[in-house]
Subunit: 524 residues, 2 copies
């Protein structure tokens, strides 16, 4: 089916008078068709429909919601090459990368289906009545988690599939039992329409209330602002810039009823090259670093934008290796003209900073919107805050530390981050152990002898971290723990079985992970 | 040891130039001694000390922290009658009530000690490496939760023990591994000093860093504001008015690094009298209702301030019974002159409302600061928002609903609440079942055939609810789930055992509740 350029309000395709076009960053031309922009009327309709769907959708059993997520995954796969080709045209990302990203997207949906079936997400706790307790009897107390309500998800430019219409935020919110309204990213409206059509078909196939899902497109800020301000919306998922995320936080906090915003914003992901590791394999580290830095034109939240090294003979080997690798790295088309411009400005700003030395640049870029990698260095003593501002793209700064105390001081100065990476051998363990507490306070994920790009979608993953890497470091946007963002506990005291939710009725916990009088039960 | 009127910054007793005195609401006189007010210098010192203590305190094993909490409990009991007598003088609460409250306070500390030993609070998840996975190997991924950092706890006027210096917020924050700075409530500084001395002795006895606990007193708003704004503070616990809570939220959100505020603010706790229950026992319900309404002079967050009844012959029986009970209820001294004044104004405001009818008042109150109970009624159609504003004290409004649809419409209009209570018999189940989804969306705890006052401290309790009953409906301030407010997840990827926290090292999970590749394990 050809693209229509229409919005989805529930199952209904809607056209509006305002429109915009997608842009192909590779060819620097606009793409057909025109896409309708949602206005206040569409926000009102989508929010009302989501609100009407909520009680019905959240009352579904886990199995029904799990099948719904799997049906979405199947329908996305059934879109075939058209999805990958449109995604490539709108993002400049290679088809091979988008193929992998589609795999991750459907994998996330299936993982949350499994998580629903495992049942621990319901957070069941049973404290049975103690009628004979002295001096006061204890009531029968039962707890479970219920979803917050309709959620607005903002599509991310850098993951047109895995963090957009049917991405991680949508999967975890739908799993939790929240209807979702996606504000599609204006860079890839065709990709959004295709994925939304898959979700809408799954809603119909599973016989769900149509308000479970809507897609609103638009290229103006007031669309997102209007959605977040709507009183029927109860939480927000966002992946993007710090400016965008903090603007949404302000709107959410200024509402008569403030709501949580889960914004994954900015991170420069420090990498620490310890002396033993440098001595053992400085050259390999230089190559691996550049591979991580330039992956996806550096357009990852986990891109290694800051590298710390203790001065020593092997630092120059690392620099030489990284410089050679970067010099040979081909230019890559960036996601949008705006992102390319911002990257150029960020790199120019660093190059012009008197404390900063340019070490290497990527190969010259004749094509449109092609980012050239950039590697800078600075002495730890001159690591001023502006040098640590995220430059979204393949830009990184090597921080040269004269001694351990300079390294430790510099680490205390960094802002909250998604990740920190240690390159260590056994001889580095003592120093690394002394740094671990600082890293734990600063980041959400600590890696050893690897690279931060490439985020595994699993149970133990944390893709989150202290502010400003995210708006809320108590959670993650990747992995099964993400479902908890959209849940809250409710306690039922002395409620008769007839009025209890099924999962809390007497004797219904046997197959479910739960706590009985505080004791952990696997339910297996 | 006589009261010194000094602050505690760590183990050090500190006097300042500014001071204030406690007030005895029963005698309407001020009490000795004068209490030092903390200023900016004391905030700076306490925050710095807490920050210095954090890494050391959070690195302690669960058993050491559990023993610390138990030592605090023992030391509080060892304060003996002096604590109860001073508490009575400063709050007007009867010694019998304070004796119960002390039991709850030490019970909370011991419950969190048990929770630490059970170990599930650490949120351990292990996803082992899959080196042979195709197309990409999986890294070894391990997750645990770590504490947020130093926490500021605001003492509550209405729980001088159970929600003040060593109350629920302090117990859960200390359990999580967060140093605590208490901003003592200015109404009971002597009670605060006594309890703080018990904590400080426990810190010394357990050999902990002195920065684990400080007590700052003061009767000016800038003390609390300064604490919440301090960059070393990472979370806030508060129980009090909506004005106070929302002011702290604003400060916390305006920081360069916003932090979570867990404010338990205002709730009127609707009670629904269903036709079957009224038919079966209207008279008993009237008496029980007044007992709950007037308990503790109505100064509970869970006080039943709104009662819904469907019109019918038994409503008048309920009214007659409640009126008689209220008329015979003795006046009770309120916590402070300010709370008494606010109560009087709130009751006068309701009495003057043209839609509101005064049904009954408590017995006349000759003593100082004595609140007289008040019961009003309104027709559901005239249930305007100002009638649903919390009047802190023994005031309640009966909402008369002509039919079920008026009841349902009225319920959709109420704000977020801590609790809702259903009085039902089997013949009411159909109506009650149709209302349950609305109640779940509006409140944190639903009760049947009981009364909302009296909050059990256990695993399944939720003392929380949607805004504005609390600032964050995703959590609870009572019960073991409260520990999660002060934790965040960290992921460790391919980290060698030597650098892992003990709990995440290979093979150390056998005795701990955890998830292995997503599978729930009790660790038993």
């Amino acid at each position: 089916m050809p693209l229509t350029g229409q919005l989805f309000i529930g199952r209904e395709r809607v056209a509006t008078a305002q429109s915009f076009r997608a842009y192909n960053p590779t060819t620097a031309t606009h793409l057909e068709p025109a896409f309708s922009s949602a206005g206040a009327a569409e926000v009102e309709r989508a929010c009302q429909l989501a609100s009407e769907a909520f009680d019905q959708y959240r009352a579904l059993d886990s199995e029904t919601r799990a099948k719904f997520l799997e049906t979405i995954a199947d329908r996305i796969m059934a879109l075939g090459d058209e999805l990958l080709e449109r995604g490539h045209a709108e993002s400049g990302l290679p088809v091979a990368r988008l193929t992998n990203e589609r795999g991750r997207t459907v994998g996330q949906l299936r993982l949350f289906a499994d998580e629903l079936r495992k049942g621990g997400w319901q957070g069941v706790r049973i404290d049975p009545a103690m009628p004979d307790r002295k001096p006061m009897p204890r009531a029968d107390l039962r707890q479970r988690k219920i979803p917050l309500g309709p959620v607005v998800v903002f599509g991310a430019s850098n993951f047109p599939l895995a963090f957009s219409v049917a991405g991680g935020d949508t999967a975890s919110a739908l799993a939790a039992g929240c209807p979702v309204i996606v504000k599609g990213h204006s860079a890839h409206p065709g990709t959004s329409e295709l994925v939304a059509s898959a979700i809408v078909e799954a809603v119909a196939q599973c016989g769900l209330h149509p308000g479970v899902f809507s897609l609103l497109n638009g290229d103006k800020r007031d669309l997102g602002a209007g959605l977040v301000a709507d009183p029927r919306i109860k939480a927000v998922g966002f992946t993007g810039s710090r400016g965008g995320g903090t603007a949404l936080m302000k709107i959410a906090q200024s509402r008569p009823e403030p709501i949580p915003v889960y914004a994954e914003m900015s991170s420069i992901n420090p990498v620490l090259l310890m002396p033993g590791a440098l001595a053992a394999r400085a050259e390999a580290l230089g190559k691996e670093f550049v591979a991580s830095l330039t992956m996806g034109a550096g357009q990852f939240c986990t891109n290694p934008g800051l590298v710390f090294a203790l001065e020593g003979p092997h630092v120059e080997t690392f620099i030489a290796s990284a410089s050679a690798a970067l010099g040979g790295s081909p230019p890559q088309v960036m996601l949008t003209a705006g992102i390319y411009d911002a990257y150029q400005k960020g790199v120019d700003r660093l190059a012009a900073n008197k404390s900063v030395k340019t070490i290497a640049r990527g190969a010259d870029a004749p094509g449109k919107n092609c980012g050239r990698g950039a590697l800078f260095s600075v002495n730890a003593k001159e690591l001023h805050p502006e040098i640590m501002e995220e430059v979204f793209g393949a830009s990184s700064v090597l921080v040269r530390c004269a001694n351990e105390s300079e390294l430790i001081d510099a680490l205390e100065k960094i802002e909250g981050q998604l990740t920190a990476t240690l390159h260590v051998t056994e001889e580095d363990y003592a120093l690394a152990a002394s740094i671990m507490p600082t890293l734990e306070r600063k980041v959400g994920r600590i890696l050893a002898n690897g690279w931060p790009t490439g985020v595994e979608v699993c149970h133990a993953m944390v893709h989150g971290g202290p502010y400003p890497s995210t708006s809320d470091g108590r959670t993650t946007s990747v992995g099964t723990l993400a479902i908890e963002r959209f849940l809250r506990p409710v306690c039922y005291q002395d409620i008769p079985d007839a009025l209890l939710p099924h999962v809390l009725r007497r004797g219904n916990q046997s197959s479910l992970p739960h706590r009985l009088d505080g004791v952990y039960k696997t339910g297996a």
